[in-house]
């Protein structure tokens, strides 16, 4: 498979503290990778930096997307290239409806105007797949949504925006069994209908069960300490991180 995302020796700081120290990994087109690690290992930092969060400063290394150096690109330009981040804590935006926002975002990402009718049809279908009440489309973006509803709304955006690379930052955290099932159904649908690549940051086996995993990367203290195939993710979940975080000497 051709390479879609390549992270090369990436070092990242926030507020003068270095959080990632020379992380390298690459994700091929259509591949699914899992990022695991303790809290504070740098997983979210990695996801947010690939998306272009201004909160983090790249102090070394490069990020390439589809061969292009995107290290200096703003988040909106990365989104237009086809990168998507499902937020751990989606932000509430009062006064803008989910539907209005999504249509706007879709037009920005695709660069074309979308007919309202077509948009509504697609939106309704995606919401049905995610067991979302259609009334949510006309609710203010994330305002007053429960934790589960917020995560579903993120997956809804994933399905509508159809990115080439989706980074899921603990999309399963705080969800009950049914909600995890729904979210994982959404992810499968994304894999099936879009065929994009996935970078999944998670602690949860249930989310991974129905996915075919290509690679697992284990992060500890801002470094990749262990890499392996998809099976490694389940080994880690079974045995805990301790066996893997000790660096090979």
């Amino acid at each position: 498979m051709s390479e879609l995302l390549r992270i090369a020796g990436l070092s990242v700081s926030a507020e003068d503290k270095e959080l990632l120290h020379g992380v390298s990994l690459s994700i091929g087109e259509g591949e699914t990778h899992v990022i695991m690690g303790h809290n504070g290992a740098g997983k979210s930092t990695l996801g947010c930096t690939v998306m272009g969060s201004p909160e983090y400063t790249v102090t070394g290394g490069k990020i390439y997307f589809d061969g292009e150096d995107i290290t200096e690109l703003s988040a909106d330009k990365r989104a237009r290239l086809g990168i998507f981040l499902s937020f751990q804590n989606p932000v509430e935006i009062p006064g803008i409806t989910l539907s209005e926002f999504l249509r706007n975002a879709l037009e920005q990402v695709t660069g074309t105007r979308i007919k309202l009718w077509d948009f509504k049809k697609k939106l309704a279908a995606a919401m049905e797949l995610l067991d979302m009440d259609s009334a949510y489309a006309e609710r203010e973006l994330n305002v007053g949504f429960s934790g589960g509803e917020k995560k579903k709304a993120e997956i809804l955006q994933l399905l509508m925006l159809r990115p080439r690379l989706a980074i899921l930052d603990e999309t399963d955290s705080g969800l009950d069994v049914d909600a995890v099932k729904t979210v994982s159904k959404g992810i499968e649908e994304y894999r099936k209908s879009v065929g994009g690549s996935l970078m999944i940051i998670t602690h949860n086996a249930r989310l991974l069960e129905n996915l075919s995993l290509d690679r697992t990367h284990i992060l500890s203290e801002g470094q990749v300490v262990k890499e392996g195939d998809g099976a490694l993710a389940f080994e880690v979940l079974e045995n805990g991180f301790e066996a893997y975080v000790r660096k090979d000497s």
């Binding site: 947010c48 998306m51 272009g52 969060s53 201004p54 909160e55 703003s74 988040a75 909106d76 990365r78 989104a79 237009r80 998507f84 981040l85 937020f87 804590n89 989606p90 932000v91 935006i93 009062p94 006064g95 803008i96 926002f101 706007n104 975002a105 920005q108 990402v109 203010e140 955006q157 925006l161």
Partner: protein
């Protein structure tokens, strides 16, 4: 200091157009009894109005300058031409309006708008009404919509006007009310008879188009028992280099069980001093609904007052203020509860950007005779950068304990997380900010008729444009 929000002056070319001054006869700039007398001659004022103007002038001369709010020392009233007479007289059809005036209005889209939903247009050009048309259906319903000058001479309305004119806002109220009483010119008179519901809104546009000219239009609206009216006042003025003054006056009389909705979008050019006075008197079970958008002017003092004078009367004020660079907008509302079981609700949003100052100033008075009344004040401010200012000055004077009064104020900034969230979905930073501001203003735009809501959204877009360095 201004690294991020470097905008010298936003492009207001859409709004700041004007044509050569040609038609008006300028009077001397200073204000003397002779000038007032000349205005009276021009207007063919009835005797009571001649006296009223002169009395107002003497009140004006002895009333001290306003000093409790934003600085208005840049305003030299003696240099402002208070009255400019257009050569053209009232027109009731579009074709006979002079070409240059028509062009100005066409840029404002009045004829198109009229074809669609306007009931009648009273468009004020400089100080006089040059175009005024009330659709037949409005006239047939018995609703009177005309300019105040002609109504004053109509035997049917003369007494009505005399008994209401500047009774709610007396010239003694403040210096600019006195000035208004002396030099007022143009404006609208609306009379809605008992139980008449006007479904289509009446609209009036004001334009100020001559350099140094003040605008002192007077709006007098009387709603009889059980009637309904939506009046829309849209203001925008071209840009000048000399300070302009707007000291209009709006007096609204809402009868028993009647409802008046009064909507305004003000977009004065940024050198304008907007010292406008608006007041409503509401009788038993009557209701006043204010919707107010303040975008323009250099300095504004604007606090529409609702006097709830009858049992069960209610008032609602929904407002938005957007202060950009060089603007100091002091806006809010006053609610006077002067009868039992009256209710008032205030919901305002203010936005400040590029060093603009936005102050929310409110007053709620609940008198001893207003047992069982309710009042709720809710104001939210959004500052778009670190150099802008937002203040909240709520005052409450509660003279009975048998009432329910609430106040909530919130001041915020746009969070970096929100910007990152929206930009990660493909919106540019500028669009993301504009979207957040539009969302913030949403409760006001929802209250506006569609075309005005669109205009307001466009104004927000215009104000936000270029805000990212």
């Amino acid at each position: 200091m201004k690294e991020k929000t470097q905008i010298g002056d936003i492009d207001r070319s859409l709004y700041d157009f004007r044509y050569e001054e040609n038609e008006g006869d300028f009077l001397d700039s200073g204000i003397t009894p002779e000038i007032i007398s000349e205005i009276s001659d021009e207007k063919n004022d009835p005797d009571w109005m001649r006296e009223f103007r002169q009395k107002s002038l003497s009140i004006y001369n002895r009333t001290p300058m306003v000093s409790w709010g934003p600085d208005i020392s840049g305003l030299d009233v003696d240099r402002i031409v208070t009255y400019i007479r257009q050569k053209s007289r009232m027109n009731t059809d579009w074709e006979s309006v002079p070409e240059d005036i028509r062009q100005t209005f066409e840029k404002l889209g009045i004829p198109q708008a009229e074809r669609e939903s306007l009931a009648g247009v009273g468009a004020q050009y400089d100080s006089e009404l040059v175009y005024h048309n009330v659709r037949r259906e409005v006239a047939e319903s018995g609703v009177v919509y005309t300019d105040l000058e002609s109504a004053m001479h109509d035997p049917k309305y003369a007494e009505l006007i005399r008994s209401h004119f500047m009774k709610l806002v007396p010239p003694t109220d403040h210096k600019f009310a006195a000035l208004h009483g002396a030099v007022w010119s143009g404006g609208s008179f609306v009379y809605v008879p008992k139980n008449v519901h006007l479904d289509i809104p009446l609209q009036s546009y004001f334009r100020l188009n001559a350099k140094g000219a003040g605008q002192f239009e007077h709006t007098l609206i009387i709603l009889e028992e059980g009637s309904y009216l939506h009046f829309i006042e849209g203001c925008s003025a071209p840009k000048y280099y000399e300070a302009g003054l707007h000291a209009g006056c709006v007096e609204l009389y809402v009868g028993k069980g009647a409802t008046l909705r009064y909507s305004t979008i003000e977009n004065w050019s940024k050198n304008m001093y907007n010292l406008n006075t608006k007041r409503a008197l509401v009788q038993e079970n009557g209701r006043i609904e204010w919707v107010s958008g303040s975008f323009g002017s250099h300095v504004s003092y604007l606090y529409p007052m609702s006097i709830l004078n009858g049992h069960g009367a209610s008032a609602e004020f929904t407002g938005i203020t957007f202060a950009g660079e060089g603007q100091n907008l002091d806006t809010g509302a006053k609610m006077i509860h002067n009868a039992p079981e009256t209710s008032s609700y205030m919901n305002t949003k203010s936005i400040s950007k590029s060093g603009g100052i936005s102050t929310f100033r409110s007053a709620v008075v609940v008198n001893e005779n207003a047992a069982g009344s309710k009042s709720s004040v809710n104001c939210e401010s959004l500052m778009l950068d670190g150099i802008s200012r937002s203040d909240t000055v709520p005052a409450m004077d509660i003279k009975t304990d048998k009432c329910d009064v609430g106040h909530e104020a919130r001041i915020g900034r746009i969070s970096d997380e929100a910007i990152f969230y929206l930009t990660s979905r493909g919106l540019s930073e500028e669009d993301a900010r504009a979207m957040i501001v539009r969302g913030f203003a949403d409760n006001v735009s929802k209250e506006l008729p569609l075309e005005y809501a669109m205009e307001m959204n466009n104004l927000i877009g215009l104000e936000m444009h270029g805000s990212i360095g």
